[in-house]
């Protein structure tokens, strides 16, 4: 950053990034951690850290979207959080046991049960598979973006997603 005009341009760009991806970062944080309080802190930390390194990230991005970079920051901060707490995010997404009795049509009830089973299944997946599913289905990221966020090749990411869905499918079948 060389002068006030550069700083203003950088702030404008950052504001744009923030507005475009606040919901993405929050959704990722929420599904990664499993509660709103920590998801709020993680989202805040992610944007503060992003602001700190935005100038460099923008220069090195060569025009590529910065969403994977943002999600990678959240991913690293979440990993630090669990390292600090000396535990992994075990059954955070498994809400099946605490949902109240369903109401509505038979189809809705059935669908609701299936969704609960899916959430429980997702929480039991290995970390990288769970994260890839969150990025794909909660954030709508494509293979290239997920690959950049996870620091993998596109091919490896495609395989990772395929295996995640397959494993989930098998665990749901086993529960039936």
């Amino acid at each position: 950053m060389e002068n006030v005009a550069d700083k203003q341009r950088l702030d404008r760009d950052f504001t744009e990034l923030y507005r475009a991806h606040l919901r993405d970062v929050y959704s990722y944080s929420y599904y990664r951690i499993g509660n709103h309080h920590d998801a709020e802190d993680l989202t805040e930390q992610t944007f503060l850290q992003a602001y700190r390194h935005f100038d460099r990230a923008q220069r090195e991005s060569n025009g590529r979207p910065l969403r994977p970079w943002l999600i990678r920051i959240a991913h690293n901060l979440a990993a630090n959080l669990y390292r600090d707490r000396s535990r992994r995010p075990v059954t955070q997404l498994d809400d099946a046991a605490v949902l109240s009795a369903p109401q509505g049509t038979e189809q809705m009830v059935e669908e609701r049960e299936e969704v609960k089973e899916v959430l429980a299944g997702v929480s039991k997946l290995p970390g990288d598979r769970r994260e890839a599913l969150i990025m794909r289905f909660a954030l709508g990221m494509d293979n290239r973006e997920i690959a950049r966020a996870l620091g993998r090749s596109e091919g490896a990411t495609k395989v990772l997603l395929h295996r995640a869905v397959k494993q989930l499918e098998e665990s749901l079948e086993a529960d039936e």
Partner: protein, 111 residues
């Protein structure tokens, strides 16, 4: 519909995007604007000073200020997080997180 397509459809429902609460938006926007304003003021002051002192022309003051401010913000967030962590025990925290997800999920289904 194949089994994989069925699972993907359920995944889309289960992992629907979550809107951040308003209090977070307020908090974040306040924090970020304080950060950018402070950095801008420092940068403007430094530019004025640098004009009269050539030795300061290459000093990366802005980067230091912006980085330092952001790091300060992070420290505060972490301190708050640490305090909250002390207040909620492991089991209570886990139960609470499960309840939070369940409550949110319930709201989404009702929409």
């Amino acid at each position: 519909m194949s089994d994989a397509e069925r699972v993907e459809r359920l995944l889309r429902m289960a992992l629907a995007p979550v809107d951040p609460p308003e209090r977070l938006t307020d908090r974040l926007e306040r924090g970020l604007s304080e950060l950018t304003e402070a950095a801008a003021e420092e940068l403007a002051e430094w530019e004025l000073a640098a004009m009269s002192d050539p030795r300061n022309w290459v000093r990366p003051a802005a980067a230091v200020v912006v980085g330092g401010m952001a790091a300060g913000g992070l420290v505060l967030v972490r301190a708050r997080q640490h305090q909250r962590r002390r207040q909620t025990g492991g089991l209570r925290a886990l139960e609470k997180s499960v309840r939070d997800v369940a409550g949110d999920f319930e709201k989404r289904l009702r929409r």
